[in-house]
Amino acid sequence: MVSDSLKIAATERSPEIEFDFGQGTLRFRGESYPEDASAVFGPVFVALDRFLAEAGGRNVLAEFDLAYFNSSSAKALMNIFQRLDGAAAAGTPVSVRWLHAPDDDTMREFGEDFQEDLEHVVFTLVAAEPTD
């Protein structure tokens, strides 16, 4: 049986994560600074691999709306982007939206850094006021 979504609620130190397999959307929202990032992101990598395997050429939209993340979460994000870029290279159209507050230079710069490193995904930086 294939489930059509994955939803992990935010905690004090980890983001809300939503995968909608039907819509082809992934969303990360909030802050991420767990001491052990692999415990938070390990299940996400597994779900993402399945998600990308099932995407089979359909459009995938990944949205990152993060206000802050620590260095071990940055490594996990890089890992996610490498998976997305790999899927895009193999023919799945992948769009990434990287949201940051208009005055948040740190998050904008992180977005630019990831953007520079990715070759196959369509990466868009979006300056937007936080939604809450």
């Binding site: 001491e35 071990s72 890089m78 850094d113």
Partner: protein, 183 residues
């Protein structure tokens, strides 16, 4: 005597510009609560949002380094995976800048490696630090560091001046390690 003693202690902290200082066993829960208090205090004082974020980031990386690497740990003897690490984190302001200081005990065997990493970062300018961060982001973490390298680079990236650090020998097997970052 009691009030006099602790008033002097508090005044000493105040004179050093210390906003707060934590010493003892540090957990993720304490890190979260201190971090929230820090952000609230800085926001109430209308500190520039970029500065708030930099100070918070350095505070998180330093605290997580203590949690991971302090050689002074208290482990549960009931076999449960509970481990507390001891150290200190101090945040204050001086000369219109914030400073974040962390201190903890490290094993003498780990000192050369830590010193070498920090000296390497001290010798880099902002662009080199950024390039080094990007390079390390792509690297698989090496066994012993559990992500320390990128954590130190993140600290160096947010710092307004090169990181200051020092080691004070306690005994043949250990040092007190201290790091100060200004923003």
């Amino acid at each position: 005597m009691l009030a006099k003693y602790y008033r002097a202690f508090k005044e000493d902290l105040d004179q050093r510009g210390i906003i707060f200082s934590f010493s003892g066993y540090l957990s993720e829960g304490i890190l979260y609560s201190l971090g929230e208090a820090l952000r609230q205090k800085m926001t109430l004082e209308e500190t520039d949002i970029g500065t708030v974020k930099k100070v918070f980031s350095v505070f998180v990386e330093q605290s997580q380094n203590i949690i991971r690497y302090s050689a002074e740990k208290l482990a549960s003897d009931s076999g449960q995976p509970i481990e507390l690490s001891s150290g200190m984190v101090t945040i204050g302001s001086e000369a219109n800048r914030f400073f974040i200081v962390c201190g903890n005990i490290v094993l003498a065997d780990d000192e050369p490696r830590l010193r070498e990493r920090l000296e390497r970062l001290q010798g880099m300018d902002k662009d080199q630090i950024k390039a080094y961060y990007k390079e390390q982001l792509r690297e698989a973490p090496d066994e012993r560091s559990r992500g320390a390298t990128i954590g130190l680079i993140e600290i160096a990236r947010r710092a307004s001046d090169p990181i200051e650090f020092d080691f004070d020998r306690i005994d043949p097997n250990s040092f007190f390690f201290c790091m100060k970052v200004s923003i």
